[in-house]
Assembly symmetry: C2
Homo-oligomer: 135 residues x 2
Amino acid sequence: MGISKIDKMHSLSKNQQIIFNLIDKSPEPLKAYTILFNVQKKGIKAPLQVYRALDKLVEIGKIHKIESRNAFIACHNSSCQVAKATAFSICEICEKVTEISSAGLSKYLAGFKDKDGMKYSKYNLEFFGLCKKCR
Amino acid sequence: MGISKIDKMHSLSKNQQIIFNLIDKSPEPLKAYTILFNVQKKGIKAPLQVYRALDKLVEIGKIHKIESRNAFIACHNSSCQVAKATAFSICEICEKVTEISSAGLSKYLAGFKDKDGMKYSKYNLEFFGLCKKCR
DNA sequence: ATTAAAATGTTATATTATTACATACTGTTA
DNA sequence: TAACAGTATGTAATAATATAACATTTTAAT
């Protein structure tokens, strides 16, 4: 992709860093209160502290919310600097969630216009099915 | 589309009918507790009665859940008999939600395979932007 | 009539998320 | 460096969303 634009430095605050680390090393999406439970030993005691950090991390694109599951996953799509174009596959048995990085898909959706010619600035797509292991 | 397959008759139960009617005539997505408030005069008193009807209505494709808003909208896409392929546009200012019926979009997504060749049995897509009125 | 599936009614509770308010930290610029 | 604005934190209370558990009734097909 040639020389990439320098990422805006979003140096994470203490709570943001703690919560991002937890989500980033988790193999599965984490729910807010699971996160809360896991960071209480680090001094984060209240739901609001978690939600505030989650909101910010979503805003800057470090994590994504899986809307159908009310859970959060670290961004694994290097091209996604902001939370504006997300796609996931979700296994309906084991609940494994994977972020989909498909240039074709993102190009198609970013260019999609509805019948009134309206284009959209963001989207979230969740695919459901059975993962390899569960079939 | 020629002679259509006879729809399986899902005659709605009393609670299902009451709740579907309310959602169907609403110009905007309704939340579960808004529904509850509005049907209490009809004898539906508890959240669970609402959620059970909602679950069934979603299952048979009469309504859809807008996941990012925790709200429910009647299906306005004649081709969608079951809740397996849904796409919406959502205005980030006025929160107007419209179901998108695009043959091209549904064909593209129904045929989408990820990089492992995996196909999915369902999807939900939510586009975000500003509607005509809000721009 | 019997029966299985679906739907209902009711209470209690679990889970997810926000409001309100006070305080502290960070980086910029006058 | 003082003042300021923007961001982040801490804390308590509460609002909003959703499900568990159990008893009963209705529906629709034998």
